[in-house]
């Protein structure tokens, strides 16, 4: 078996408020193999984004890593200096965001913004970087890359901007791409294109993807393995097929049950969606071992 590209071991993140440290991530462990697409699902507040930010080393106060290791190619990211970490970001590990509308600087052309990646991480001159930027735009299938490179972000649609973001993230051929709900803000047709693009580009380049989403459909269509997060814990992890076919954990079953299925209503008459009481309950009431207990299934009885 090859060594994992990213090996997160017992990662603990805590929020320091006053003199108490509230646990946010509790011993999260998972591995991503080189070239693999790994999905993290879970509801809002379950710790998906915190996990990705911890990997990037971009946790903001009051959040901080309280324990565990994040091994990237065998190197513990938590031990790296700020400068080494910065050199890694954008170069070996890149990230794309949910909001393509705001993720680009409105005052410079997209060509320049992509070119800056080459200048910053590969020490290229501006002229060459501009040429490479046009190539990068072409590789994410932006029509007329020459002309588009001279566009400002406001002249582009949401789908195009997300492509630009992907071009920037993949500019330096990173080993790992973290996609934090990259398609949530896009409409369904564009979503499908962007997903296919990420999938194909990463397969071509052998880039591993950490895919974060609350959309099970997106995860099912893109990832080989899936981890389900709930309340700061990785509650279940399995091959995508196995997880969707045979969910083991109560919460995973709840998630899948909450998914509307096409045609289910006409087949089985009035079938209700299974409801998982939608707010994560007060964290202080959760015990060390039972995270799902204080939730009500249906009818309100816990």
């Amino acid at each position: 078996m090859t060594a994992p590209l990213l090996d997160v071991r017992g990662l603990k993140v805590a929020a320091r408020l006053g003199d108490r440290a509230h646990p946010i991530l509790k011993e999260v462990s998972f591995q991503i193999m080189p070239g693999e697409a790994y999905g993290l699902v879970g509801e809002s507040g379950s710790g998906k984004s915190v996990t990705s930010l911890a990997v990037m080393g971009l946790l903001k106060k009051p959040l901080r890593v309280a324990g565990g290791e994040i091994l990237f190619k065998g190197q513990d990211l938590l031990q790296l200096s700020k400068r080494e970490m910065r050199r890694l970001r954008g170069n070996r590990v890149a990230m794309i965001f949910q909001e393509p509308m705001t993720a680009l600087n409105p005052l410079s052309t997209v060509g320049r913004q992509i070119a800056e990646m080459f200048v910053l991480h590969q020490g290229k001159g501006w002229d060459e970087a501009q040429r490479l930027a046009v190539d990068a735009l072409a590789s994410v299938r932006v029509p007329n890359p020459d002309r588009r490179a001279r566009n400002f972000p406001h002249q582009m649609s949401g789908g195009l901007r997300q492509r630009v973001m992907i071009a920037m993230a993949l500019a330096c051929n990173p080993d790992l791409l973290i996609a934090d709900e990259p398609t949530t803000a896009l409409d369904v047709t564009v979503q499908a294109e962007v997903l296919r693009l990420i999938k194909e580009l990463c397969a071509e380049r052998g880039t591993a993807v950490l895919f974060i989403s609350h959309d099970l459909g997106v995860i099912a269509s893109t990832c080989q393995r899936v981890g389900v997060m709930y309340s700061g814990c990785l509650v279940e992890e399995n091959e995508t097929q196995a997880l969707f076919g045979d969910p083991r954990h109560e919460y995973t079953r709840g998630l899948l049950g909450a998914l509307p299925r096409l045609g289910s209503r006409s087949q089985h008459g009035r079938q209700r969606l299974v409801d998982i009481d939608s707010i994560i309950s007060d964290r202080s009431k959760l015990t060390e071992t039972r995270f799902i207990a204080p939730r009500a299934a249906e009818g309100g009885q816990p």
């Binding site: 990037m56 954008g90 990230m95 965001f97 909001e99 705001t102 993720a103 680009l104 600087n105 910053l120």
Partner: protein, 273 residues
Amino acid sequence: MRFGFNFMLGATLTALVILAGILAPWIAPFDPVLDADLMNSELPPDATFWFGTDGQGRDVYSRILYGAQISLTVGIVSQVINSIIGVTLGMTAGYWGGWWDDLVNGLTNVMLAIPSLIFALAVMAVLGPGLPSLLIALGLTNWSWTCRIARSSTLSLKSQGYVQAAQTLGYGDLRIMFTQILPNMMGPILVMATLGMGSAVLSEAALSFLGLGIQPPFPSWGSMLTDARQLIQMAPWVAVFPGLAIFLSVLGFNLLGDGLRDSLDPHMRTRNP
């Protein structure tokens, strides 16, 4: 971008002052310092001396043209110094936060609590009179508003998606500040600087009036007013024309700043289509 009437008026007045300052050596009929002739002193405006002559018989019109150079230099240089200090402190304070932010905030509050003219007087008293110390004094006094605006703009820009994206793409702090934050807050900073030019011209006039600015016999609008003080009964034109010059140029700078703000602020643009 649409410009309103105020902006056009402000731009015209500012352009007039700039032209007067630049072209002074060619369009001034007399030398502002050397062409003193006591025989011609305190003449009212006529065809030779358009704005009359002062107590030493120098042409007020020529002196006002040369005075524009001083006023412009003071206005522009002091605002450049102000902006550099204010933006540097405000942007780093807003971006890094923590103890540095507290320190800069404290300093800003102290500066705001001291009347700026008094502070400038103190600096001038230490450095001695003259143009360079005038520039330093005015450059050191009015950065606190710019600093506040830079800090608050940085705080709001810091949470913008592209600043966070830049962090994940491996940009260093300084690179983020200069490529992502600074260009996006240029609008308000520019407006502040333009509005500040007006008050810098006024402060220069005040300091020269008090005898701490430009030293006689060299002309500055403020020192011309000082000289005119004793003559105001007999020869009012000696005071009126420098006063008008100060008034019009400050008005011009302020209207220009206001107009810039209106055309750079998207909210204002939608309200007055």
